[in-house]
Every structure is written in C-alpha cells, then in structure tokens.
Symmetry: C2
Subunit: 331 residues, 2 copies
Amino acid sequence: MGSWRPATINLVATRAGVSRATVSRVMNGKSSVAPELAARVHAAAAALEYRPSIVARGLAGGRTSTVALVVPDLANPLFQGILRSLGQAAGRASHRLLVAESNEDVAAEIEMAREARRRCDALVLCAPRMSAEVLAQLAPELEPLVLLNRAVPEVRSPQVTVDYAAGIRDLASHLEGLGHSRLAYLSGPATSASNALRLHALHELTDAGRIQLDVLPCGPSFADGHAAAGAARESGSTAVVAYNDLVALGVLSGLHELGVRVPEQMSVVGFDDIPFSAYSTPTLTTATVPTDEIGEHAWARVKALLDGSPVPADLRLRPRIVVRGSSALAP
Amino acid sequence: MGSWRPATINLVATRAGVSRATVSRVMNGKSSVAPELAARVHAAAAALEYRPSIVARGLAGGRTSTVALVVPDLANPLFQGILRSLGQAAGRASHRLLVAESNEDVAAEIEMAREARRRCDALVLCAPRMSAEVLAQLAPELEPLVLLNRAVPEVRSPQVTVDYAAGIRDLASHLEGLGHSRLAYLSGPATSASNALRLHALHELTDAGRIQLDVLPCGPSFADGHAAAGAARESGSTAVVAYNDLVALGVLSGLHELGVRVPEQMSVVGFDDIPFSAYSTPTLTTATVPTDEIGEHAWARVKALLDGSPVPADLRLRPRIVVRGSSALAP
DNA sequence: TTGTAGGCGTTATCAG
DNA sequence: CTGATAACGCCTACAA
C-alpha cells in the first residue's frame, strides 16, 4: 500500500456517474439536486472518504475560511485571551485561525500582517506599538481588517478597543474613595499606547485636583514591579497603581520582602485580572479586560465584513473593577 | 478608485515582456534567468507590488508553507509555551501556524486534526486524552505528523515527549532526601495520560518500599487544589505532590487558610513551573517542562518530514527540578 | 535560457 | 435540474 492520495471531486463524479458540477452542488448544499443523484454522490463521497480541498476551494472561490491574527506577544495574557476567544468564535463558524507573533517588533509586524492577510480571508490585528500614521497607510491593503485594542480614527476598518482610561479612572476613584489622596503610578513601556492612555487619565485626575500623583518608571513585568517596590514605598504615596497585574504582583512581592504590609500600610491595584490575581496573597484588586468579549465582537465584525452585511459599530469595552484584598482604607 | 485587485503573475509577465514561467523562475530564484530579464521582472513586480498568491502556490505546488497545531487547551501554560516556541521556529523558516483548540473534546480533536491537516503541509498534534488505538488508526491519514507530549509506540510518526515519570521521580527523591517518607499525591483528571504516568512512577517508588503514598482525587485546577488542601492535611503525609503547579498553588492557598505553614509543617511541590510559581509565597518547588525545546524539536521534525531529509530520533525530554521555598525538611 | 502548455481541485457561468 | 467549460494564480515538465 503506497502513499494514499486523497480523493478528488473528479473521482467522486466518476464514481457517482455525474459531473463535477453536480458533486460540487451536493457538497455545498447549493441549488437543489435530484434526490437520487444526491444520494449517489453522497454514497460515492463516503466510500472514497472524499473531503473537498480547502486550498483548491480557496483558489476558486476566493475564500480560505481562515482568518489571521497578528499579536505582539503571546506571553501576554491579554493576547492569549483574545486568541482563545477569537479562535473559538471563528471555529464555531467553521473558520480557522492563523496566528503570528511579532515579538513587539513593529517592522516585522507590518510584514507579518501583509503576508498573513494574503493567505487568509481577513486579518485581526493587535498592534499596540504601531504608529497611527503607519497604521492608517497600511490599513487599506489589509482589508478586510479588524483592529483590536487600539483606536485609530484615521482607519475606516472596524475597531474593538478597551477603555483603559475609564478603567484607570475607576481604579483611582476606588482608591480615592478609600481615602488615598496620593497615588504612585508604576509606568509601563514608554512606547506603549495603552500606557500613555493610563497616564493621561491619571493626569486628568490630578489636573482636576482630586489626587496627587507620583509617576515612577517601571516596565511591564513582574521583575520590574518587584524592583520598583522600594521606590513606591519611598514615594510618599499610600497606594500604588501598577501598569498591569504582573507589575502589581511584583510590587506585592517586593513590598512583602521590605516588610510593608498590604493593604494595611499601602494599597496596590493592578490591571488585567490575570488568573493568579484572584489567588495571590493578598488577592489583587484590579480591572478585568473582557478578552472573551473582544474575541467575540472581533469575530462578529470579521463575519460581517466577509458576508458584506452591516458591520457593527466600533466598540469601546469598559474594564470592570474587581475589588479584592490588596486595597483598603488609607492608613 | 474602486477596490484594488492584487497583481497576478500574468500582469507582471506582460509588463516585463516575458512569459509567466520566467516570472515564476525569477520569483523563486530557481534555474538561472538572464540578468537583464530578471531585472525587468523585478522592476515590474516592484512597480505592481506583486506578491505571489500563497493559495495558488499551494494548489499548484502542494505546499502551503503552513503547519497546523492542535492542542486540547490554550489556557494551559504548557500548550501556550509549545504554541509560542513552535510558532517562532516555524516563522524563522517562513512558515505560519494554524492553531486549533479542541477544548479537551476528543471527538472534536479528531475532526480538527483531520481538517487542519488538509489545509496545511503538516500537523503537530497534542492529544493527551486520545486513546492509543484511535491515535494509531488516525495517524497515517494525518501524515506528515509530529506527536507531542505523548508516547505512542504504535505510531510511526516522530514524537517529542516529556518524561513525566522521571520528573515525578526526581521530585519524590528530592522530598525523600528531605526526610519525607509519606507523600500525598493530588491526582489530576482520570483520563489524563500524563496523570497516569505520574501515578505509575510514584507507585514504583512505593513498591520499592521507599515511600508511603496517599492518592487523593483532585483535578487540574487551582480551585481543585484549593479544595483538596484539607484532605491533604488529614492524610497523614508530610508532603504534597500536586498534579501540576496550578493545583500546587491552590494547595498553598488552601493550607494557608487552614493555618498550615509551608514548608515548616508541610512541603508542597508542583509540576510545570508556570511563570507565577517563582513568585508565590512561598515560592514553589516544581519541575520545569522545557516547552521551548519541545517547539524547537517539533519543528525540526516537521521540517525533516517536509524536506524528505532524515528525521531526528524520537525525543524524551526530562523535566528539570527547580527547588524553591515550598519544600523543606520534614517536621 | 526561455516560452508553451497542461494541470492542481473547486467553483461559477452558461447553455441545454 | 444537469453538464460542459472557463476561470482562479501558479508551478513545472517539455520543447524550442
């Protein structure tokens, strides 16, 4: 038994004594076919274990039933969540996901987006670092395109974004309500758009005279947060707002080592609600980014684009505050 | 300006005043072409922003430069790690990854594997739950195939597996060396092959009279571990071997709530070394599964299969013990 | 070295 | 309702 070649539509047609066109019609359930012929086709297809070639179908019909997802970093729970939910949603509609990780490299990201798009029906792009100009210029050739986690007015493609500003405001308000009037913000990567948004939202609160703010350079990782614990303690603030949960958990760990009790002596809040935040000691007050919804909504837009049906309006998802053990009344 | 159609090889050929064959040759760097013609082709291609259609190329040449990865659960750090490293390795060779998640559903897994394979050049399959019989029967039609995280002698395809037994043995030996003679094993899902391996390895140690073992039914999640903390304490064992890190961290949390100090009163070890294990309180002693290497080696085998070159021998990666703060001398 | 022609497996358009 | 026939975009003998 040599290497087995998959059955083609031609074989099935011959075996069933019909034309390829009829086989195609039967397989696709399109325009009605005489019951008897249909039965013969089904029988032949089953006997031959025939499966239409997705590749050939892609060439002929221009649809690959595949959508591409380009993300900067698959180690990030946010993108992992998006990957999962988008994959599930697409899967339910019999579409597959092609995933490409750019490793935060914008140049690579551009090339990957171009290339990934060419072999798929649509592209879902998460490009937090890409400049609006580049994105605006690139977008047209990437269509059908859905932009995630990033609002770019210059781009006509549907966008599903996260209202980080509102999330941070809610977090700050929560702390304010607990009597904290001076907050330390552990800043993420300087090039991060979402970091800029967070910072901007915080500055608005200081401008409104509601809080005092210490901005401490930090980074996006646990280690960064851990290293910044000392600076946070020295800052004179009574609460720490971390760039994300990883950083917050790092701060928790760092403060613990420094003998600073959380939340008694200092409150800490994160952002993202990664799985462990519910289980750290103390458990972490944070804001949840609804990645499930992002994927779901992203898929709805992809589908609309592909079907030519009305595309749902752009969405700005508001993170939900999750109050846990790391925040309490100011000392 | 209506919707723009991507340039085809025909357009380039016409523009350059050559035949399609010549354009094809130039684009693929195959058999030498007169420098002047090549220059014309390059110029035309550049002017038209021509990019060969990957889909058409796939149909004609039978290569899609895409490989499929099927995993049971993308929430699992193990598979996330494999996804990342495999994706990176494939990417370096200009291949893309099609990812499909079966949600632990074996029936769905079978269908996904079949389907995913048909649209790609090869399949990398992680199917911890699939029976050896089914797998053996399915494998031939899935080739070129690389099996991950699962040793199945009946299958001829290359396999990269993890020696969980050795990992567990090393962990148990570590505890034994600390004076623990009675261990509680928090068992994972009954259908999990890796769980069976862990259990088997542990039983060998009891059969050898080296340790006493309490097997406690548990599960694979943090919540399962948390819930099992009480049972672990009552078991009479002085150390807990958890099915994985998630469970171990859950136990840590549960024991903390019960007022049991770790590692003073009880030692706890996990398995996987997920990112957070280095930062929990106490930090978790565990065993690292080298996901980076898995992806790397898996890709090497995929490539060999596709190139028709000699396929590297099957690999059994041994986890590396990481001793941290959750294990200490028996009380 | 270059061009011609046929084929990859489907779908879609027309006749009949 | 069914069957030729022409795309789809590219690759690859085979010929010249």
